[in-house]
Amino acid sequence: MKIIVCIKQVPDTNEVKLDPKTGTLIRDGVPSIINHDDMNALEGALELKDRYKDVEITLLTMGPPQADVALREALAMGADRAILVSDRAFAGADTWATSNTLTAAIKKIGSFDMIFCGRQAIDGDTAQVGPQVAEKLDLPQVTYVQKIEVTGDKVTVQRALEDGYEVIEVKMPCVLTTIKELNTPRYASVKGIFEAYREKTVENWTAKDIEIDPEIIGLNGSPTNVRKTFTPEPKGKGTMLPGCDKDTVCDLFGRLKEKYII
């Protein structure tokens, strides 16, 4: 079974601060991590590798050269192969251009049975890239996966809903996007870390390597236009109406009517 796991290197949001003047993220000196949901995607694949013979896990990421560290960390956890798709031409990509790039890279990888993506990245929160990749590859997809069972060429998954879950059977090849309820990601071992750096390699692919139309990548290929980034104004303090008599209740109703709430 061949599984492709798409991961993204993101700033550790626990450490991120906003520039009060511009409202943008201050990324300088902020440590980078593998996106949380992507760790669950990787762990999901690793658990299948623990359980079944001949599972090969290929990591795929689009990002700057520094994303090598994220791939090494994922290799140290037990993935077999890593591909870093990196090119200045990809800069400024929105989810559409990103999924174009990943789709082209996946086509170049060729054969696979499943693609795992984290539900969404903590820096963008769009949850669009996984589903877009599935659409562009014309593959069945299940999002918000919290449990995976494999039987032959079928995958039975639990898809989380707000108030429960649904059980969906899907035929391979397919795309699954995962959530934190799926598992607890393992730690890399010391040996795994040395293997990741000394025995395994990260393949670097450029735009040319994946034979992609320059018009559909990076800023050029991004229909999204970010006009402004801002921190929402904090809401003012609420008003307390002390008392439990008729006048107070009338006062409350009056105020609610004034705001057209009732």
Binding site: R72, E73, Y187, A188, V190, K191, F194, E195, A196, Y197
Partner: protein, 385 residues
Amino acid sequence: MKEEAFMNFSLTKEQEMVRKLLKEFSEKVVKPLAAEIDATERFPRETVEKMARFDMMGIPFPKKYGGAGGDNLTYAIAVEELSKVCGTTGVILSAHTSLGAQPIYQYGTEEQKMKYLVPLAKGEKVGAFGLTEPNAGTDSSAQQTVAVLDGDNYILNGSKVFITNGGEADIYIVFAMTDKSKGNKGISAFIVEKDFIGFSIGKKEEKLGIRGSSTTELIFENCIVPKENLLGQENKGFGIAMQTLDGGRIGIAAQALGIAEGALDEAVKYMKERKQFGMPLSSFQGLQWMIADMATRVEAARFLVYNAADKKDKKLTFSTEAAMAKLFAAETAMDVTTKAVQIFGGYGYTRDYPVERMMRDAKITEIYEGTSQVQKMVIAAKVLK
């Protein structure tokens, strides 16, 4: 000086990643147990099992011998990170790796490596080292334990004291006189399994610090050790002991460094939180100067420790550097932990905060694997050569 003799002051990415792993492991697994194992003098067996799972028990040994395929600097970083939160766990790993496993890696036959190093490096078994005797401490050549060849076996008689991991270890490197007439040229090293006939564990020491680590007496009463368990050549054991201790000092220096860093971290946190006269302690210059001294010594100790480990990795002579690192890091640990207790004031003297434990743990680093005075002997001998 040749170019390779200079240290590269930046760690590799893999070393940084191992540090990150060890830091998380220490915070989540080791730190929560530190006060309890100190109070109850309990060997943290469950931590050892978890360290084995993450391949921490054989970091510098090749994969073919069950190790992680790493290096000595990474191993030192591991001991450092563990010791930041728990000096006990740091020394368990250090004694196991540097004293239990390393001599087999360095002097063992291929058969001995397969039989003993592999399970040690995998962490399936724990290692220890028995050199010190009641009358052979710093003067370790005054061994009274004897080994006599009798057919296919050596028969060992005598006892060892202050053995780290004693009673908890499965495999012991034990030194004994095979030719009393030759003094330290008549000492041999043996690999002794805990279940060998005639081998038993004596008194367990009650200690000031590193109380979760087991420190015991080893007793040999007609202990039967198969001839093939002789480590290295007969009568060459003293050299094995000395070289092993040279490397071991890097581990203890890393432990001392870690204890000092842990105390510094606690002191910094406390100084920012604790208020007196309406201001945080960190705003008082008298204490700022203490913290500046502590941080500077820690930084210097770190460079000495990493330098010694780096030299060992590059197969350069490192004996003097290891002695300097151990001397300086141990004195730094004692100095920094004592100052940390001072900064915490009355609270620092109680068991509600970890700094008093760190101060107790620090003291041993000036004593074991060669006292500070022995380190000075080693350093002076080299400098005045």
